[in-house]
Structure formats: structure tokens, C-alpha cells
Symmetry: C2
Subunit: 360 residues, 2 copies
């Protein structure tokens, strides 16, 4: 398979130009490019620039509005709620976490929720914003259903992601960003395309029975929650914090952020999101927190290794190493991302692509 290389700068400039052609303001495009390309540098390509093409299609359809700005509509000492007004979701989410951090600086903990918004890319990005301010950050959102719950058949809840980040003295926060399903939908679809079977515990068939055959998905069947009832419980908590509390559309009433998905209900997505910041040094002191966090990191790194294992990773550590390599040597783009970017270039009439095939 062909490999493609791109520098982060070239990819950001491409993203900015493509967004500009959709009528998005320069500053908003710059911020979005930084968020999406950072995600690609982490190697989290499922949630990086790959998602830009379908997201931008929402603007000419009127499901997103390049001129809108999210607005704080209600707030208290340690919280605020923003109406996203269908503005560019990356910018809205960035503002929401910045405000949660500000609330936590004053109150020790703070949350900012958003409704009337859409897909914000990788939840983990916003969590790391808090870690840069020596806070523990969390970000989550509800989503249209893709996941069964115990006892049901078919898609009941979204794969409602949860992300967190924890500050570390070396500037590389512990960070964690997961779907509450056992596996991501695109892993199941990739196995289907390759004609492979999937591990037990990932999928139920049209009758709600566990299956290792991905061929019916996504038309029928549904993803299984991680660890079954445990993943169900976490997905439900997210549905409540990001959805029930905020006025967002819930479960089957929420159209996918991807336009024209078969079965999508009409209207705007109205996704709900929740951002939490906790001042890590409030109880002890920032220095003591750092010292204890370093102790814990060393303890985990130094634990006896399993047979065949030569290293134990903290959550996010692989991503920071990939980012370091990407900043030095460029980003390795998988071919599916390249296809999305080529499509986007066609959509907006950009002739020069920022990446080039690498001959092995």
C-alpha cells in the first residue's frame, strides 16, 4: 500500500485554505487546523483531518453556520452552559474548555456544557488543554446510536466517548480517549471490507446475539459496549451529563453529524458535550501533585513486565511519541485519510495537495 508523508505545517495550511473556501473565518480555521492536525500527529487518524470533509458539508446544507458564535446562556460559580448555535464545533468546544478551566481556577472544579453543536473531533484534545493549565481535564459527548445495551438488539446508545488528561511535569500529560463501545465502528467495517472475522465481544447481529461476522454491520446489528454492562453504564452516564442535562438531542433523535447517513433523522445534529476541569494542585500543592504523579508514573513504568513485553505505557504516551516523530519527520498519513483529503481538495477546488507518496 502507498504511504504518504506531510509536514504538520503543510497539512494545517491545506486545512485552513479548504475551510476558508467554505466561508469560515481565518481565526476559526486556524484553530480547527491546529486541533485536527495535532490529532493526526498523535496517530489518531480516525479523528483528525479525515473528518473535515464530511463535517464541512454541513455548512452549505445549513446544518452548521460559519457566521454563528456559541453563547453562554446560563452560568453559576463553577459552571456554565453554552448554546452552540450550530457554530463550528471545534471552536465552540475550545471555548467551552477554556471557560471550564477559568471556572476551575476560581472554584477548584468547573464544568461547561454545550448543546446545539456537532462533532468536535477527538475529545482528548480538549482534555489536554486543561492539563496545560495544571488541571485534570475531562471531555465527553453523546452521539447518535451505534451500540447495543445488555438485553437489547440493535443500536440503542451512541458510542459516547470519554476522554481525560492529567498534567505531568514533563509537559506530556497522561491522556486517555475512548469510545464506550468494545471496539470502534471503523475497525468492524475494516474487517468486513477485508472479509475477516472479528473477535468475540465486539458486535451483535440483527437478533442481538454476539457474532464474529462483521458482514451485516452497519446496516444491521450493533457494536457491543466495552466490558458489556460496564460500558453500558459509562455510555449512559455520558448520555445524561452531555445530553439529558444540557438539552441536546438524545439517542435515536440525534442525527449523525455525517450528512446523508441512511436513516438519519432530519434537522440539525444538536449534539451535547461536557467539559470538566479540576485544579490538580488545589488540595496539596502544584509541586506536591507533580512529585506524586511522577512517583506513580515511575512505579507503573518500572513494574515487572509480562512475558514478551519490554515496556509499559501510560495512557497517551504512545501518542506523544508519535507526535514527536511527526514534528521531526512529518506525519505518515494512512491511505483512507489521503482519500478524504483528496476528496476535500476536489470539493473546494484546491489543485495542489500537501502530501506526497513515499516510495519505499
Amino acid at each position: 500500500m502507498d504511504r504518504f508523508k506531510v509536514t504538520p505545517e503543510a497539512l494545517e495550511n491545506f486545512v485552513i485554505e479548504a475551510m476558508r473556501r467554505y466561508g469560515i473565518y481565518e481565526d476559526d480555521a486556524r484553530l480547527s487546523a491546529k486541533i485536527l492536525v495535532t490529532t493526526d500527529t498523535w496517530g489518531v487518524h480516525t479523528h483528525g483531518t479525515r473528518q473535515l470533509r464530511p463535517l464541512l458539508k454541513n455548512f452549505p446544507m445549513g446544518r452548521l453556520d460559519a457566521n454563528a458564535k456559541a453563547e453562554v446562556v446560563r452560568e453559576g460559580v463553577a459552571w456554565a452552559h453554552m448554546d452552540g448555535h450550530d457554530a463550528l464545533p471545534f471552536v465552540t468546544a475550545h471555548r467551552a474548555m477554556a471557560l471550564a478551566i477559568q471556572k476551575a481556577k476560581a472554584a477548584g472544579i468547573g464544568y461547561v456544557s454545550v448543546n446545539n453543536t456537532s462533532h468536535f473531533g477527538a475529545a482528548g484534545y480538549y482534555a489536554t488543554m486543561a492539563a496545560e493549565q495544571h488541571m485534570i481535564g475531562m471531555a465527553m459527548c453523546n452521539a447518535d446510536p451505534n451500540m447495543v445495551v445488555p438485553g437489547a438488539r440493535g443500536k440503542v446508545l451512541g458510542t459516547n466517548p470519554i476522554a481525560y488528561a492529567i498534567p505531568k511535569r514533563d509537559g506530556k500529560p497522561v491522556f486517555f480517549d475512548i469510545a464506550t463501545s468494545a471496539a470502534a465502528a471503523n475497525k468492524v467495517i475494516r474487517a468486513k471490507l477485508l472479509g475477516q472475522s472479528i473477535p468475540e465481544g465486539w458486535l451483535v447481529n440483527a437478533d442481538g446475539e454476539p457474532t464474529t461476522d462483521p458482514s451485516g454491520f452497519p446496516e444491521t446489528g450493533a457494536l457491543m459496549p466495552m466490558a458489556n454492562h460496564k460500558g453500558y453504564g459509562f455510555a449512559l452516564l455520558v448520555e445524561v451529563l452531555a445530553g439529558v442535562m444540557t438539552g441536546a438531542k438524545l439517542t435515536e433523535e440525534q442525527p449523525s453529524w455525517v450528512p446523508n447517513v441512511p436513516g438519519n433523522p432530519p434537522g440539525k445534529t444538536n449534539q451535547g458535550q461536557m467539559f470538566i476541569a479540576i485544579d490538580a494542585g488545589a488540595i496539596l500543592s502544584p509541586a506536591l501533585f507533580d512529585e506524586r504523579m511522577d512517583w506513580l508514573a515511575d512505579y507503573i513504568h518500572d513494574a515487572p513486565k509480562a512475558n514478551g513485553s519490554d515496556r509499559i505505557y501510560l495512557p497517551g504516551e504512545i501518542e506523544w511519541e508519535k507526535r514527536e516523530a511527526a514534528l521531526k519527520n512529518g506525519i505518515d498519513l494512512p491511505s483512507d485519510v489521503v482519500d478524504y483529503l483528496k476528496g476535500l481538495a476536489e470539493d473546494v477546488g484546491i489543485a495542489t495537495l500537501p502530501f506526497e507518496p513515499v516510495t519505499e
Copy 2:
């Protein structure tokens, strides 16, 4: 196997009397009895009165102090930290969640952390306290290691539980209380005693390799995290929120709350705990939250059922139904709980046991 029945009142009175004989104040004993017996009425017998005997043994050893009271040592607008001073942990945890609720009433969200404390029973009990005040409650604690992490062998992190509760108009909160391991240690030990194998994904052997043979545990091997790296991530978040931030003992430095466990480091447990409350009706309104929560509950209940399933449960629903039955017909005590209670009666010289065998 013999079955045993007890009324909640008789079991509470037994608990109060046993605690009194350990020098615990009447009010503290009453509150603890309510917490432990409520847990038994839910059918969560692993965390109910079964745990009282080993916990009380901490008092004469000086690892807990019947005369101590937890103290708020630092606080902000939306948070507080309590030094547990090795007081009775149920009472400390109850006070901590009550204070978190009070903070959240003023600020919309609040947390109270505790260190220098010990085992508080079922984390879920404290979460439900928040739900009774129309708040979303969360409770978590760190613990001595019992669980491997990806790439390691042996016990690295505790099975650090996470619980939440969400208010519902019918007075039966959604509630969820899990260990971040794939399975509870006592399930593995029960299989070992019965000479059975265990499912894949529960346990690693002494080499850190997944095994279905429980015979080496708990002396060697370790529980696996739920959904492997996902459970690792959640356990680590709990270790940070309840442990690193609070000044509690971390991982292998924390002695088990059960006295005289082989390999227990000397000294007091110094467990860390974290209680969070979020005002559910702050953003919209309490009535609108309730209405939307009922919609979500109905939507889940009414989802199409899997083959062989006639009902879909919300988290906690089974527990509330068991409680209703227990309040009406008495609690069915498993024989292992009965053995613990008999042992406790012997320890303190109570001649009359509150339960009786049921002849089928």
C-alpha cells in the same frame, strides 16, 4: 445449601450492637448499620455486612480510631478536602458526600476528597445520597493493588471502583457501582474453591499471561482490567483523583483495609476517596431534567429485545427490586455472609443471631 433470612431491622440492630461492643458511638453505629444493611437489601452482599468483621478488627489494632472524627482541612468554593483521621470510614464518607452536595447546591458542582481513611463499603451508597438531593453523584476510591496493567505482570493498581447515581422522579435512581477490573477478585476465588475454570479476560498468571486457571490467585497472578487498556485508563484516573491529588497512600504503599493480609505493608491504610455532586437541574430545570430522564429510561426499556431477552434493565434497577423484596420479605443472606456474621458474633460475644435458616 442452607438459606438464611433476616429482617433489615434485626440485621441493623445486630450490627449496631456489635459495633457498640467495639467502642463505637451509637450514632456512628446506626449510620454504618444503615449503609451496610441497605447494601445487603440491594443484593450486593460482597460489600454489605459481610465486610464488618474484618473492618472492626482494625480498631483494637489501632489502624482505626473509634474516638476520631474526620476534619475539613482545606476548602474552596466548590470543593473541600477532609483528613479522615482514621475515623470510622462509613461515617467519614457519609459526611464527605453530604458536604459535596452542599458545595454543589451553592456552586452547581462540588467535590470532597478524603485521605487517612479506610474501606467505606459500597461506593454506590454515597452516590445515591446525591441522587436523593436531585444531584448526580459519583464516588470512587483507590485501593491496594490487585490488578495488572497492559504489558505488566503481577498486581500494579487497585481495582479502584467508580460509582455513580442519577436522580429519577420515581425515587429509584439509576445507579452503577463497578470495579475497574474485568471481574471481582471474589468471583475468581470462588471458581478456584469450586475447581472451575474462569472466562478469558479475567486473570493473568504469574508470567503476566492471560489464563483461565484461577488456582494460582491471589498468591500469584493478577486480575485483568475491564476491557484491558480501557479499564487501565479508568483505574488510573481514580488513582489520581482519589490518591495522587489527596495525599493518600498509592498502589503498593497502601496496606489492605483487611488486617493481616499476607504481604500487607505495615501501618494504617490511608486510602483516598473522592465524592462529586453535580446539580442535575442547574442547566435546564429540575422538572425538565426529570422529564428528559424519564424519556431516556422509557426509550431504553422499550428498545427491541435480543433473542432470549424479555427485559432491558437500567443500571441499579435490579438492586431496587431486590430492595423492595427484602423490605417486604426479609433479606436472603448467602452462607458466606452468615459465616462472617457468626464470626463477628463470636468476636464480640453476642449469643443471639438475628437470622435463621429457612427450610425449603
